[in-house]
Point group: C2
Chain length 480, copies 2
């Protein structure tokens, strides 16, 4: 994608607030904002973090052109000095983040922005938008890939995506989540996500009959002949013509029918029948691909319950839009603000205890047991140190009498510096490395966390210090 000018892609209130801070002379107040989410889509047990690379790119390019500033001036709401500030805008804040491909859990910071409060507000919208979108699709993809049990999964959703970016970054996120490729040529051109595809029904229909269409394709692509066999009648026409083309066109050239695709009908029944017919004709190596509004539940049913004969899944709209739950609810909440005497932790109280935020500038430690399985994440104050040589008391922040003393564990700091005082200090891994990392990271989760139905709720705890701080602030608030 060519360079995008996204600096005005922000909720208007970021500007009214920023102008307000500026006019109040508070533009240098240092704030800490947490990015976190409250629940996993589809009732899942984990999500997969994605989108950091695009956030970095956006922040690096953040600046305001004369045209943009003229537009803002025309709103007659903004102080000239504030517009001057934007004209000279320079990002100077710190950004901490988990790495792309990391499993993430509700109510833990997955990103922290620390810096002048105006800067924090200006980047809120694009951070959330980017992270919410890509984490949504990456997470959904892992679920489909898991249920495919080693079979190929292809992302075929471009035509149903919510706009151009959704198709491109959606393909990127799906690839992080483990799909093997995409139908989206741009995603291959730009991100080297393997693009694949053979023919639509229109190709078949454009010929006088199905056999002529298959023959044309086999002649044009003898090494990659994958034929769509459901245009007229899968069992009485499509598969028979496909075999005929193999025998008459491909075999004489020493080639082999690579695959067939079925895009409609009863996929369990049809694939079993087609497999039989292929095998009876000696085409045991020909692969069967299916598509048609598939998702993780249908894939699971086909693979595990129906024992359909499928080698490869093409998933479209239900992946690229995460149709069953199309919203990833990442939020951006103030956690602390620096006053003269140092950081003052901030809390947002809610009648709903789960919606009360966790105050302070924080770090997240992931605890692993001796088998390298993740057992809990613990939110701490940023400078707390966890000594792996000492037992550590994990406890539930809502029900603190639920406790577990762990020893023989290792910990990993999950939030790492990306920008320090505006300077990029992180090197984004290449996409294939992110994908490998994501796959490996999923193996650190218990299978009880990974399952689709009623997964185990992974523990996200607070350190004793942080818990005490939160309780104190809540109690103080109640006293008021």
């Amino acid at each position: 994608m060519e360079k995008r000018k996204l600096s005005l892609l922000l909720d208007f209130y970021e500007l009214t607030m920023s102008n307000g801070y500026f006019k109040d002379g508070r533009q240098n107040d240092i704030a800490v904002f947490d990015v976190f989410f409250r629940s996993v889509p589809d009732g899942g047990g984990y999500a997969v973090f994605a989108g950091l690379e695009q956030v970095i790119s956006y922040i690096k390019d953040l600046s305001f052109t004369k045209e943009e500033l003229d537009y803002l001036k025309s709103k007659e709401m903004f102080d000239d000095k504030f517009l001057q500030y934007l004209k000279n805008f320079k990002f100077t804040a710190d950004l901490y983040s988990m790495e792309e491909g990391t499993p993430i859990f509700p109510n833990e910071p997955i990103m922290i922005v620390k810096g002048p409060i105006i800067e924090c507000q200006l980047i809120e919208t694009v951070i959330l938008l980017t992270i919410n979108h890509q984490s949504l699709i990456a997470t959904k993809a892992t679920r489909m890939v898991k249920e495919a049990k080693g079979r190929t999964v292809m992302e075929f959703g471009a035509r149903r995506a919510h706009g151009y970016d959704a198709s491109i970054y959606g393909a990127r996120a799906a690839y992080i989540g483990g799909v093997n490729g995409t139908s989206n040529t741009y995603a291959d051109f730009k991100y080297r996500i393997p693009a694949m595809g053979t023919m639509a029904h229109s190709y078949i229909q454009s010929f006088d009959d199905e056999y002529e269409a298959f023959k044309s394709y086999a002649l044009n692509y003898p090494d990659q002949t994958v034929l769509l066999i459901d245009t007229y009648d899968t069992l009485n026409s499509g598969i028979l013509n496909a075999i005929k083309v193999h025998n008459e066109i491909l075999k004489p050239k020493g080639k082999y029918l690579k695959g067939v695709r079925i895009d409609s009908g009863d996929l369990a029944y049809l694939t079993k029948k087609v497999r039989e017919v292929l095998d009876e004709n000696g085409l045991t190596e020909t692969k069967i691909t299916v598509s048609n509004s598939l998702d993780e539940y249908l894939i699971r049913d086909l693979v595990t319950v129906q024992e359909a004969k499928i080698d490869s899944f093409g998933v479209g709209e239900r992946l690229i839009t995460a149709r069953s739950e199309a919203v990833f609810g990442g939020v951006y909440k103030l956690a602390a603000i620096k006053k003269d005497l140092g950081f003052v932790p901030k809390i947002k109280i809610s009648n709903n205890a789960a919606k009360t935020t966790t105050p302070g500038f924080k770090q997240v430690y992931r605890f692993y047991d001796e088998d390298s399985k993740a057992i809990a994440d613990v939110l701490t104050l940023y400078d707390e140190v966890i000594n792996e040589n000492e037992p550590y008391l994990l406890f539930d922040p809502t029900y603190p009498w639920k406790q577990k003393l762990v020893s023989n564990y290792t910990v990993k700091k999950m939030l790492i510096p990306i920008f320090e005082e505006g300077k990029l200090v992180y090197k984004t891994p290449c996409l294939d490395d992110i994908r490998v990392y994501a796959k490996k990271e999923l193996t650190t989760l218990w299978k009880e966390v990974l399952r689709l139905e009623r997964p185990h709720q992974y523990y996200v705890d607070l350190s004793q210090k942080l818990w005490t701080l939160k309780e104190t602030l809540t109690a103080n608030y109640r006293k008021k």
Copy 2:
């Protein structure tokens, strides 16, 4: 949005097919493709067409750079002459379309592409992607606006959109669908969709107390003071501080508290209480805005059932992602292909009768009764003429014995030329005109078609000629 290079944003099979047509010497075969959809999201009775302006812009810019062609060459699948063809690519086809803002119905062409088959294939993906996305959001918006019964509806969803384009073009589509404005500054900058917004909870939290925050905002925006009153406690703190700020800051300046916003809690209960308190304090003109995961069903409940005291709705994720049904299923099907003797209509048979396509190069006529209410759409062959002075027999294409002879009707040709032999012959209306047109068009529908629950199924019929053609092709196919 700056110029986008989207030429490679297409499903890879469009390229394999196009290369195949080219190698077969069929690049000049003229094809007709229909864009249509099969069902309305959310079980609705109508959809609203949007996205044409972006389709036009994409087609005008369609060309292939050296870098793109080098990439394609690297796939080692494409003929050099085909790549040469792409290098010199020039769009020469015809595009017919309904106008943006038009109510559309299942199984009727909303767009038709007629031209060299390669051109038709190359633009398939972006046409579908654009139309599917924007029609989805425009339709959803009309539902919310309708249930708000004249109250303001604002699009607040940028942070939950599926990428940058989804936030921008989603705001555009929502505006076509009738929302009054957006939180998305870019959408205002680029499309003059009124952007609005005041403050987030973080603004309140960044001060030592709520009153100080409100005071700061009122001083900075005395003419546009809308205060978010639910950060701590709406009734015991927020509304009281808002009134205090009115009395102490705004009133002495001759200003007035413009509004309050509530983003959590029981919106029905809270708005009634807040209205009471405002009125008791003489603030009868202060508006109440609510937000928090709203959709058309919740809006209907608040307005019609709960009689909540709400002046304005901010709708976020459930509009910008169309969360309850995030897929608009527009498809692109071959309808005819020109052979030596003229156009040969093409049909895609399906075991599911509803999925069998309607063949031929077509036009859509909308029939209106004497009260200018739309009574049916009739698909005809493109050159059929309907004489308004003669009675016309409408009949159900699936149950042809269901008939109605209509007279005293008027008809409108719904598909109009956009490109003719590659030349743009259509002037896109400005966005505000599209919005006005969309609103007016909805008034041509019976309220039974507009309702949310079990709407009347608007009639989409075939002309006698077209019906006979479809029956004949189906019967011919069966004979094979």
